[in-house]
């Protein structure tokens, strides 16, 4: 479909500083426009890409993390594990070690520092990943269990699943909102970051946070403005030192809103939007190939 040279397993992360900016709209429709692609829903706290793709699932896998367990007959209360734990997931009260599983980040450090080897590991189930197909798009979706607080291990599992796939396809990563650990994990392997911005002052503020993160990771990036209307746009006050390019503006359009709110994939329903997202995809591929040229 395109003559531009780029690697076949290109990974494009779609991110934004806030929810509701249009990450899922973009990543779902770009994946559908690309065809023979992978779509990864890394927003494991509230995944919704599968609602659009309605895939036929063919695999499901539980995700576990390691949590320390103490053998009280061995522990002598030296508290080396308490001193080590950056998250303070351990306490020593009435000659007993208490472990707060919800606070633990599964680093395993307490087990290493225990001089008596009183600590061992156990598995804790925190969620699952599912793989399925929707027409020619492969859908990878992660879901964290209610009450668990860190989705990072689930995102790791999603990306590891995508790496182990035998066919090389372009991959579109639907990131969680914001710029926290789970977003860093989601963009880590990406070749290109596409930032979605709303045309408001708030949208601009959120963009700045994510742009800082993307620069920190040294990722090539570009912006798409969603819900764009004619006239003054307070988000577009880019200063001269901003090197980021606005690739496309998605119009604030009733047809688009209606299809999306009915969980339809716009490129599969509207010829106009199929062309729109295909053209955006070409522009992204062009950006990536330019990056490859300038960087090598």
């Amino acid at each position: 479909m395109t003559n531009i040279a780029f690697k076949k397993d290109l990974k494009i992360a779609v991110l934004s500083g806030k929810g509701g900016a249009g990450k899922t709209l973009l990543s779902v429709n770009l994946a559908a426009a690309a065809s023979q692609s992978n779509y990864i829903d890394c927003d494991v706290e509230e995944p919704n890409g599968h609602l659009f793709f309605n895939p036929t699932w063919y695999m499901e896998k539980d995700v576990f993390v390691k949590i320390p367990v103490v053998d009280e007959s061995i522990c002598d209360g030296c508290r080396k594990c308490l001193d080590f734990c950056r998250f303070n997931a351990l306490a020593y009260i009435n000659n007993r070690l208490k472990i707060y599983e919800d606070i633990c980040h599964s680093c395993g450090g307490c087990i290493l520092v225990c001089p008596l080897m009183a600590l061992t590991e156990k598995d804790k189930l925190i969620g699952k990943v599912s793989l399925g197909n929707s027409e020619d798009v492969r859908v990878l979706s992660g879901m964290i269990n209610i009450g668990d607080s860190s989705g990072t291990p689930i995102i790791k599992e999603l990306l590891s699943q995508s790496r182990s796939l035998s066919d090389k396809r372009p991959t579109f990563i639907d990131c969680p909102p914001g710029s926290s650990c789970i977003v860093m994990e989601s963009i880590k392997d990406a070749d290109f970051c596409l930032i979605v911005m709303e045309p408001t002052i708030f949208g601009r503020h959120n963009f700045d946070m994510v742009y800082d993160l993307v620069k920190l990771f040294n990722k090539p990036s570009a912006v798409v403005i969603n819900k764009s209307i004619d006239g003054y746009n307070p988000s577009e006050n880019f200063t001269d030192k901003d090197e980021i390019k606005v690739l496309e503006k998605i119009p604030f359009d009733k047809e688009l809103g209606l299809l999306s709110s009915n969980a339809e994939i716009v490129v599969r329903k509207s010829a106009k939007y199929r062309n729109f997202f295909s053209s955006l995809l070409e522009k992204i591929y062009m950006e990536v190939s330019n990056e490859t040229v300038t960087r090598t």
Binding site: F87, K98, I182
Partner: protein
């Protein structure tokens, strides 16, 4: 018996700190000898788990009761394991609360909040 109160400053004229885990100091007051001692809350500036760490400090101080405006779930759990009762206080000065405690005017803290950590943790 010894009682603990979160304090904004390390003197007896200080106000009560509205936070437990993030309080700058703890007053440890001995109701028998009427002696007061201030502990630096080393947990105050921690990134996470401040409630657990602060509660560990109180347990280690051998206090039998904590007097606080509020307390999070993890901290309350540590204190409970250490057999420390938590009393709810409303007055702003340390001395007023000590007097109220001595006169048995304080009720046990019932509304333990679930903590603010989960919502914003990265």
């Amino acid at each position: 018996m010894k009682i603990a109160i979160p304090a904004d400053n390390n003197n007896i004229d200080s106000k009560v700190s509205q936070s437990f885990g993030r309080a700058p100091f703890f007053l440890i007051y001995d109701t028998e000898t009427e002696k007061s001692e201030f502990l630096n809350n080393t947990a105050a500036s921690l990134q996470g788990g401040a409630g657990i760490k602060a509660a560990q400090l109180i347990v280690d101080s051998k206090a039998s009761a904590l007097l606080a405006p509020r307390c999070g779930q993890n901290a309350a759990d540590v204190l409970k394991s250490g057999n420390i009762s938590i009393y709810k206080i409303e007055a702003t000065s340390l001395m007023e609360n000590i007097t109220a405690f001595k006169e048995n005017r304080l009720a046990l803290l019932q509304d333990i909040h679930t903590g603010f950590h989960d919502k914003y943790r990265v």
